[in-house]
């Protein structure tokens, strides 16, 4: 089997994961597509280094690096430092979110409103929090995997997650208040 077909078999199935991460980090379809193409070319060049490790986190580390290089060049303002040493976000009580599972029109409307709200609030989080939330909540990666991808200790992953969730919750609540 050629190197290309092995690469296509092992790495290409994670195209959605790559695109999802790039899309959340660049916040734009076009840019995410460019970053993903670049990341796949890099991944193919370094394919030998994958050796037996899990392909998805390995690829996502490359996608993340490519995203950061892209952000440095095109949107340096997005790359704010995080204060990881600071206290965790306070446990703000959240008003009980409806978690409807039925599919009557009202529920569907509410769900799509939630979706918009959550998407917007998540997009506006600083990239360091946004990426751990996307990897944990949407991509369902483990703390260990996220730590390896982002090159930070697992403890920092956890504190960024907790803090990011807190910030997200606050952002969503303030949006809901404004909307009502």
């Amino acid at each position: 089997m050629s190197r290309l077909s092995r690469f296509e078999e092992v790495v290409l199935p994670h195209l959605d994961a790559a695109y999802n991460l790039a899309r959340w980090l660049t916040r734009n379809d076009h840019d995410a597509e460019d970053v993903v193409q670049e990341a796949f070319l890099r991944a193919m060049r370094y394919f030998e280094r994958l050796k037996g490790t899990e392909a998805r986190p390995w690829l996502l580390a490359i996608v993340r690096n490519t995203c950061y290089t892209w952000l440095e060049k095109n949107r340096p303002g997005d790359l704010v430092g995080l204060d990881d040493a600071g206290p965790l976000a306070s446990d703000v009580e959240t008003a009980g979110h409806a978690s409807p599972t039925e599919s009557n029109p009202e529920v569907i409307l509410l769900q799509s409103a939630n979706r918009k709200l959550v998407n917007q609030a998540l997009e506006e989080l600083p990239v360091g929090y946004r990426e751990v939330i996307v990897m944990r909540e949407i991509e369902d990666l483990s703390y260990k995997e996220i730590a390896a991808i982002a090159g930070i200790p697992a403890g920092t992953v956890m504190s960024r997650l907790a803090r990011g969730r807190g910030l997200l919750r606050e952002a969503i609540e303030s949006r809901m208040r404004k909307a009502s």
């Binding site: 190197r3 959605d16 076009h30 193409q37 998407n119 949407i138 969503i172």
Partner: protein, 212 residues
């Protein structure tokens, strides 16, 4: 999944946030780029040196054809070769580049009237760094084609347009590298576009995006 005592209702991110799936066009584009990369890697390094300057243009065309013959040359290769060879030819002799030389799209566009069975898209993108230089007729992939020329800094870009096959949908820009030249292809509103130059891939894709 929670590791801590945090039992406050969370915004249900997993349920509410969008999982962005890769568009089909991206899948196609990535696969094409990978195939191209694999081909480039498989080929002897010396072919990459071809056509670095206009002075070596002829040598370049010859080595190109040789390299492609060696590569087997499918239909895509044939188009790539046609497009690249047309670019090299246009730069070989002074006066080959444009039949109508003008930076004014309102002069260039009407010049094509009656010469082609479709209306090429002609725009000046000087504000974005691509200054229209003019146009000429060419013949590629078995079609009469509009060739538009742009200047980007010190580089010349050839942009070819011809009508797409009936029913062919839009295709996002894909960029390929061939022996020091960058080629980009996309399809938009029934027109096939091929751009070729020695600019950076990103710059050529920037032009592609202005038109797609």
């Amino acid at each position: 999944m929670g590791v801590n005592k945090d039992s406050t209702p969370e915004p249900q991110i997993a349920r509410d946030a969008t999982y962005y799936r890769a568009p089909d066009a991206l899948r196609t584009r990535v696969r094409a780029a990978l195939r191209e990369e694999a081909r480039e890697q498989a080929r002897p390094q010396m072919w990459r040196w071809g056509g670095m300057a206009a002075a070596f243009a002829l040598v370049s065309v010859m080595s190109w054809n040789l390299a492609l013959m060696r590569a087997g040359g499918g239909e895509e290769d044939r188009i790539l070769r046609d497009v690249a060879a047309a670019h090299v030819r246009s730069l070989m002799v002074e006066g080959h580049l444009n039949d109508v030389a003008s930076t004014d799209q309102h002069t260039v566009k009407p010049w094509f009237e009656g010469k082609l069975d479709f209306a090429p898209v002609v725009n000046d993108f000087a504000a974005s760094g691509f200054t229209l230089m003019g146009g000429r007729l060419d013949y590629l992939d078995g079609h009469p084609a509009a060739a538009l020329t742009y200047r980007h800094r010190l580089h010349v870009v050839n942009l070819f347009e011809w009508p797409a096959a009936a029913g062919a949908g839009d295709a996002a820009p894909v960029a390929l590298t061939r022996h020091g030249y960058v080629l980009a292809h996309w399809r938009r509103a029934g027109i096939e576009y091929w751009a070729v130059s020695d600019v950076a891939t990103e710059d050529l894709l920037a032009l592609a995006r202005l038109l797609s």
